[in-house]
């Protein structure tokens, strides 16, 4: 065990996967670029060669399709998009040619590809360079979606994603790249489909996604000093969702906040809320509170950006709202 950053954990997962399984290769725009993928692909070309760590032309659809085809041929590719914003260009490949393939052919050809969609926002990058539309992918049958919020999970989920026999969308967030914690040096899996209770509590359940897990933890600290006990749950996998973990927590606390850095309408936050409402009918003490992005594109200017992206204070407010009167 060593203290590692999230970026290092992702990098190490790549490295160990490449080293331990010759079916694994990495392909995407900017493996060798200083801008594109943070430090998460650092050193991979040097160690494994440009045959297995492949930089590409700007052709999101073509490159994603190539990874899909390689997966059909039994490889375990990791194809990445330096920004989720550019993945829209590969949407047809991801849905029609990947998520649906196994079903469409009656289970005869599976597609063990890992698609890495990096969230890269902030610093006035504006609407086309800031998005994190998880829900669009959760919506699609046949695709698993993971969203690690800690270095430990970042490593373990990438390993599990690559080892899974199905297409997995792995969404890592550059805002978390400097986050540090103890991460095992050896290769390990965090199982897909299992959430994590990050902090136990009794008054309110906060289900938080991606960078909002950290913010939820901070909010919970502050709330603790006000004697409000918050249980923080990180689902880690958005699909298949560990709904039981969430439902059991809500049964205990009776209150739910969903904190999800994506747009609200048909979002993952509504997915959780709808499931929880239906499964805990009449148990909730208050309506679910939502902490999401506004239903607006992402602005550039810092004054607007600050207002746009939720943080601990929004989660704090949402929890406080329950105890308003």
């Amino acid at each position: 065990m060593t203290i590692k950053s999230y970026a290092k954990a992702v990098n190490e997962a790549h490295e160990q996967l490449l080293a331990s399984d010759e079916r694994v290769f990495v392909i995407g725009q900017g493996v060798e670029s200083p801008w594109c993928v943070g430090t998460t692909t650092l050193g991979l070309v040097a160690r494994f060669g440009s045959e297995r760590v492949i930089d590409t032309p700007i052709s999101e659809a073509g490159v994603t399709g190539a990874a899909i085809g390689a997966a059909m041929a039994g490889m375990r590719p990791i194809v990445f998009h330096p920004r989720m914003d550019f993945m829209y260009l590969a949407m047809d490949q991801i849905i029609n040619h990947c998520a649906h393939w196994y079903y469409m052919f009656g289970g005869r050809v599976n597609v063990p590809v890992t698609i890495r969609g990096i969230i890269n926002r902030g610093n006035e990058q504006a609407a086309q360079h800031s998005q994190s539309p998880f829900a669009m992918y959760v919506h699609v049958p046949g695709l698993k979606v993971v969203c690690p919020a800690s270095p430990y999970d970042a490593k373990g989920l990438l390993v599990a994603a690559v080892r899974d026999d199905n297409p997995v969308l792995y969404i890592d967030d550059r805002w978390l790249y400097t986050l540090e914690e103890e991460v095992p040096d050896e290769i390990y899996e965090v199982p897909l489909g299992k959430g994590r209770v990050c902090r136990e509590g009794s008054d309110v359940t906060v289900v938080a996604v991606s960078y909002l897990v950290r913010e939820a933890m901070k909010a919970a600290d502050i709330l603790a000093s006000e004697r409000i006990s918050v249980e923080v749950i990180d689902p880690r996998t958005l699909k298949p969702l560990d709904i039981d973990l969430i439902v059991n927590s809500v049964k205990k606390t009776g209150r739910l906040v969903v904190a999800d850095p994506d747009w609200p309408c048909c979002g993952f936050s509504e997915h959780v809320a709808a499931a929880v409402y239906s499964r805990t009918f009449n148990i909730l003490k208050n309506p679910v509170q939502f902490v999401t992005l506004p239903d607006a594109p992402v602005p550039a200017g810092t004054s607007l950006e600050k207002a746009y992206f939720p943080d601990k204070s929004d989660i704090f407010q949402a929890v406080k709202h329950f105890f308003a009167e």
Binding site: A66, H97, Y102, V109
Partner: protein, 343 residues
């Protein structure tokens, strides 16, 4: 109807192909033809529901190309892939059962006519999204290039495909990484209801491919040895690591875009043009040629035809006597592994 769109009958030149191979080419074309024409009847009889894009008239392309491929080479196709599936050696019964939406279909009734699969002979699927399987084919080629196996990928596509951007992305990637993939463009002059000149300024798809860095040739798609020779060269290049090729096969689909009609009634094509291409029938001419050079007798040809008819009839019997998929299995095969969807 100009000469370019409708050339004279194919002239055959053969060269170091042994007799059994020549017979295979004819037999494969006949098998495809019989399959397609039988499917057409079954569609008219409303026994087959799934939308069928028939390959009648184009048989020389699939047959010529697949003859150059090994069993373990990959093949990807389109909405119009019955012929590709058959030529590559896919099981006839499983294909016919798929037409009928049966559990015994190659895709277990989930795919229908447009989604045929036969991993045992390298067919990992066909996509009904125009140009959709191009990058995937580049991907299997990439996989094999990484593994260094020499397995080649052939991907069939129509003349409409280069209108889709992803075709260009795929071609560029294949050329750049020198991948063992062959793009076979079946230029049948139409894309649904539109002739090529309504979709592009120039009739020069092979030149575009060339500019992207693919080795590029044009052949008479109704001439099965010519197709075979072009494919063989491309396969050799690919197998030896010299990179991807593009083969434009000029041909014609007799039936209309989808289903058994001819699209002449709809005013989409004219009867003269269709007649001229029917006169260029790749099977009739090639059979005649084999008879003329004494490799087959007329009798042999008739016997082959009977054999093929029998095979297809057997496939139909198999299909219609097969069970439908169980609705209780509706959500099976969403994911591999895991509780309910395991397989």
């Amino acid at each position: 109807m100009n000469n370019c769109l409708c050339p004279p009958p194919p002239e055959f030149r053969i060269n170091r192909i042994d007799d059994s191979k020549l017979k295979w080419l004819l037999l494969t074309m006949m098998r495809i033809r019989e399959f397609e024409e039988r499917v057409a009847e079954l569609v008219i009889e409303k026994k087959i529901i799934t939308p069928c894009h028939l390959y009648t008239g184009q048989e020389a392309v699939a047959s010529g190309v697949c003859h150059a491929l090994r069993k373990d080479d990959y093949l990807f196709g389109t909405h119009r892939s019955h012929g590709h599936y058959i030529a590559k050696g896919g099981d006839l019964k499983a294909a016919m059962a798929e037409m009928f939406g049966r559990a015994t279909g190659c895709s277990k009734g989930r795919g229908g006519s447009m989604h045929l699969v036969a991993p045992e002979v390298g067919i990992l699927g066909t996509s009904s999204i125009v140009a959709g399987s191009l990058p995937i084919a580049v991907g299997t080629a990439l996989a094999e290039s990484i593994r260094g196996t020499g397995r080649v990928t052939a991907v069939f596509h129509g003349d409409g495909v280069p209108e889709e951007g992803i075709w260009h992305e795929s071609a560029n990637l294949a050329a750049l990484k020198r991948l063992p993939v062959i793009f076979i463009c079946e230029n049948n002059l139409y894309c649904t209801h539109m002739a090529l000149d309504k979709r592009r300024v120039h009739d020069n798809l092979h030149r575009v491919a060339k500019e992207h860095g693919l080795e590029s040739v044009v052949v008479d798609g109704n001439n099965v040895p010519d197709v075979y020779y072009a494919a063989r060269d491309a396969v050799n290049r690919a197998r030896e690591g010299y990179g991807p090729s593009f083969i434009e096969c000029r041909t014609y689909r007799w039936r209309g875009h989808v289903g058994p009609n001819y699209d002449v009634d709809l005013g989409l094509r004219n009867q003269d043009e269709l007649d001229a291409w029917v006169a260029r029938c790749p099977i009739k001419h090639f059979a005649g040629f084999l008879v003329s050079i004494g490799i087959l007798s007329k009798n042999d040809v008739e016997e082959m035809q009977r054999g093929v008819s029998f095979e297809i009839e057997e496939a139909v019997s198999f299909a219609v006597s097969s069970p439908f998929p169980d609705p209780a299995d509706l959500t099976r095969y969403v994911f591999k592994g895991g509780a309910s969807n395991d397989d």
